[in-house]
């Protein structure tokens, strides 16, 4: 084999654009961007066959910072967009991305049904327990006593949403948690999610240094989960319902049926319309 035909392994930087992020210095989303591009490089999908789809929010700005195809859509609807793309173009490596507000509040219904439909794609949620883009309101994952938002001066008083437990109950096939402070570990999780068939949820704890500065302490709180990934739904449910939200790693890996229409032509349009003839 001559050197001209040797295939060069893609690098993470091949998947990054030269566009400067709008994020605040220190925002966790910078390293999530690195993790996503590293995962693409590890899988090695040619960049024209990758797509990053998002909704609206600070975290949802991520597609433009990659060099692959992308769609920055409307608030809350990254998953239906990614679904439409993946179902009609199954050969693409489709990654939906966004924040906890985007995915679990305005997009909550799509989240449940995307888990249930189990289309083969990855959903990366940058969870900072706050609405960053609109300047610091409580999100579905915010603790009930967080009272720093003008909108809920006494705290929300509402129990936080449990995205991973809900994903499991709704039918997701792969559930993992990462931390933005560990970009390599998170890249590995995303790559594993890409390899696993069906709908894979990767929740990434990604601090909002501006509106939740106390999240800088997450660094000392996260730990790799002690128990290996399980495919037992009962055990997974127990661990997801009882953990404190800081165990990282693959928490559930299932073998549920993947939604994948065949897209095979068996008749011409002329044959189809002939059925209207009397």
């Amino acid at each position: 084999m001559t050197s001209e035909t040797a295939v060069v392994a893609p690098k993470a930087r091949d998947y990054k654009s030269d566009y400067k992020p709008v994020w605040c210095p220190g925002c966790g989303d910078f390293s999530v961007l690195s993790s996503v591009t590293k995962a693409f490089a590890e899988i090695g999908t040619p960049k024209e066959n990758c797509a990053v789809i998002s909704g609206i929010g600070c975290s949802s700005r991520i597609p433009a910072y990659t060099s692959v195809y992308g769609f920055h859509g409307v608030h809350g609807r990254a998953l239906p967009l990614a679904t439409g793309l993946k179902v009609s173009r199954p050969e693409l490596n489709v990654v939906a991305t966004g924040g906890d507000g985007d995915g679990f509040s305005i997009g909550g219904n799509h989240f449940m049904h995307a888990c249930r439909r189990n289309v083969d794609m990855v959903y990366v949620v940058m969870d900072n327990e706050v609405y960053g883009m609109t300047k610091g309101q409580a999100s579905p994952t915010t603790a009930p006593d967080w009272d720093k938002s003008k909108l809920t001066p006494h705290g929300t008083g509402i129990n936080p949403f449990q995205p991973l437990a809900i994903a499991l109950a709704a039918g997701a096939n792969f559930i993992a948690r990462g931390f933005s402070g560990d970009p390599n570990g998170t890249a590995k999780l995303i790559a594993d999610a890409m390899k696993h068939p069906g709908f894979s949820l990767v929740q990434i704890l990604s601090p909002c240094v501006t509106f939740r500065p106390e999240q800088k302490d997450w660094k000392g709180m996260v730990r790799p989960a002690e128990i290996e990934a399980t495919s037992d739904i009962g055990r997974a449910a127990r661990r997801l319902m009882t953990d404190d939200g800081f165990n990282t790693g693959i928490l559930y890996k299932g073998s549920r049926n993947v939604y994948r229409p065949a897209l095979e032509e068996s008749e011409t349009v002329a044959e189809v319309e002939a059925t209207f003839a009397l």
């Binding site: 566009y19 040619p46 960049k47 024209e48 066959n49 797509a51 990053v52 789809i53 597609p63 433009a64 060099s67 692959v68 195809y69 992308g70 769609f71 920055h72 859509g73 409307v74 809350g76 609807r77 998953l79 239906p80 967009l81 990614a82 679904t83 439409g84 793309l85 993946k86 179902v87 009609s88 173009r89 050969e91 693409l92 219904n109 799509h110 449940m112 049904h113 439909r117 229409p261 897209l263 095979e264 032509e265 068996s266 008749e267 011409t268 349009v269 044959e271 189809v272 319309e273 209207f276 003839a277 009397l278």
Partner: protein
């Protein structure tokens, strides 16, 4: 005597087989060469309850109901008053009923219609495996003059799955009904006819819209059921699959609209269908399709509104939201089919336009078109096949939203090396990067506007027929009664021009002015309460000095006779 066109209503309790009888009558008529139209009406019950089939048959094409009824066949009197307003009974109507059905309801007898009671139930018992709808079909077959071969063929094919015994029972029932009618006087027989070898189709507006999508190249559909649009989606589900496409049932319309944006972004022409409440939910994402220049088609089958309104009845009251429901300056396409077969043409054309112009298109059908079934000539094949302007691999300095003279910028489809870009609902620079700069905003607004306004829509923007100083201007399903009213007026020696608008956005002001040359007064016909079409015309077009409006909301359809009255009283 034979009639030009005859109208028949068949009513009865759920389970009596009213719809089957109506459908068989229409199909047998079609075999014998008659055109026809069948609309259905039923009570609010999900299953069972009373039902009515309204048929109109004629040697020539029919697209709307008549304003007189020749025959009402009531298998029983169950809640017949519910349909009274739709029946158009008069003293010439022949009402057929069962001798044992009890007293004739007041709504019937007060019309002065001639009532003939036949021993239907008794005959059912006498025929082995007899069913009232086949006896009824026999009576109608005799009165209308259906050829036996046509009836035999239709019964055999409709009951093929049920086996020979069922076919024999039905034929015997038909014969018994045929004999029952031997002494019934009726002048509603149709003149003999033939198909002249032209292929005839039996199709509903909703099926036609689905087929239009398919023929236009649609291969991805996301669906959320809603009356009266569901049949578009139900027809597409199995048929898309056959041609290598797919339909996904979405969790709601917020999802279905965005799923088709995703499908289209991937390069697959994509479509959905909905009705008012669903269209309202889709509006934010329609703006995304416009801003990101992602082609999509939404077939909106209008029903009575606002809110849940009257789901099973027609109205033209989604015009405002279709034209103006998007936030921001969001030029898009709004089209409207004006007959059942035209649901095919207009939907296929809309797919072509959306793809060609990389924008969102709303097709405003309605319940009257969508859920009625017509016997028509096979529609001609059209040249409108989706053809998107796409870039080849590795084009240097590719910019997704490049500012072109036509306003259309070549699109890169995922999988194309060198075309990678991020589609965005944020305002952007030509290179697709988000931008809030004034010059980028104006440049992109201009471009998105220009590509629609500069495009040549040919003469499909409207159907313009006839000459005269008076014009009747309308759109959508009210076109059929307008056409028929004008035919009747012309038969009386009047001269009238009809303008039925198929392209409602972008507005074709110059072509409209051209179409109005020589017209001094215009009668506007629409089916809304708040005069939406009338206000639209006044806002965007130059109208003649004298303008008159005839409008009415749903559920009652417009009829040719009342439009003719408007024309005559204004001449």
């Amino acid at each position: 005597m034979s009639a030009e066109t005859i109208s028949i209503a068949v009513t009865g309790a759920g389970g009596a087989g009213v719809m089957t009888a109506g459908q068989m009558l229409l199909d047998a008529g079609a075999k014998a060469g008659w055109y026809g139209l069948m609309t259905r009406s039923s009570g609010p019950q999900i299953r069972g309850g009373e039902a009515a089939a309204f048929l109109r048959m004629s040697p020539g094409p029919v697209n709307c109901g008549d304003d007189k009824l020749h025959i009402l066949f009531a298998f029983d009197w169950m809640n017949v008053e519910r349909f009274a307003a739709e029946l158009f009974l008069n003293s010439d109507t022949l009402v057929l009923c069962d001798s044992d059905a009890g007293e004739v309801p007041n709504v019937i007898s007060s019309s002065g219609a001639r009532v003939v009671a036949l021993p239907l139930k008794k005959t059912v018992k006498e025929v082995e495996g007899g069913r009232i709808n086949m006896i009824g079909l026999g009576v109608l077959g005799k009165l209308v003059g259906l050829p036996d071969e046509a009836v035999d063929a239709v019964i055999s094919s409709a009951l093929k799955k049920k086996g020979q015994e069922a076919i024999d029972f039905s034929k015997a029932g038909y014969k018994a009904g045929f004999d029952l009618a031997a002494n019934v006087e009726c002048d509603a027989a149709l003149s003999a006819c033939s198909t002249d070898g032209v292929e005839r189709w039996g199709i509903s507006g909703n099926e036609a819209a689905g087929l239009g999508g398919l023929k236009g190249g649609v291969r991805f559909v996301a669906a959320y059921p809603i009356t009266p649009a569901t049949e578009v989606l139900e027809w597409l589900a199995p048929n898309l699959e056959k041609v290598g496409g797919t339909l996904v049932q979405a969790e709601d319309e917020l999802a279905s609209i965005v799923q088709i944006i995703g499908g289209s972004f991937g390069g697959t022409p994509s479509m959905t269908a909905t009705s008012g409440p669903g269209l309202a939910l889709m509006m934010e994402a329609m703006g995304l399709a416009v801003a990101s220049e992602t082609p999509i088609v939404v077939v909106n089958v209008q029903r009575g509104g606002p809110s849940t309104g009257i789901p099973t009845k027609s109205e033209q009251s989604d015009l405002n939201i279709a034209l103006h429901g998007l936030h921001g300056d969001a030029p898009h396409i709004v089209t409207a089919p004006n007959s059942i077969p035209d649901c095919l043409f207009t939907t296929q054309w809309s797919v072509f336009l959306a793809e060609r112009l990389q924008t969102a298109a709303i097709v405003l059908s309605d319940q009257a078109l969508g859920q009625s079934r017509v016997v028509c000539d096979k529609p001609a094949d059209l040249a409108f096949i989706a053809k998107r302007d796409v870039v080849e691999a590795n084009v240097e300095n590719y910019e997704r939203y490049s500012v072109t003279a036509s306003g259309v910028s070549p699109m890169a489809i995922p999988g194309t090396p060198g075309g990678e870009y991020v589609a965005d609902g944020l305002e952007h620079a030509p290179n697709a990067r988000p931008s809030s700069a004034a010059e980028d905003h104006i440049e992109q607004l201009d471009k998105r506007d220009r590509k629609l306004t500069q495009f040549d829509y040919g003469n499909h923007w409207a159907d313009i027929e006839g000459e005269g100083e008076m014009a009747v201007i309308t759109w959508g399903s009210t076109t059929a009664p307008v056409r028929e009213a004008i035919e009747r007026a012309e038969a009386k020696g009047m001269k009238i021009r009809m303008i039925s608008m198929r392209l409602l956005m972008p507005m074709q002001t110059e072509k409209f002015a051209e179409a109005l040359k020589g017209v001094t007064k215009a009668l506007v016909i629409e089916q809304t309460h708040s005069k939406q079409f009338f206000h639209y015309l006044k806002a965007y077009y130059d109208l003649p000095a004298e303008v008159k409006l005839f409008n009415r909301p749903g559920p009652l359809p417009m009829r040719p006779g009342e439009i003719l009255e408007q024309i005559e009283s204004w001449s």
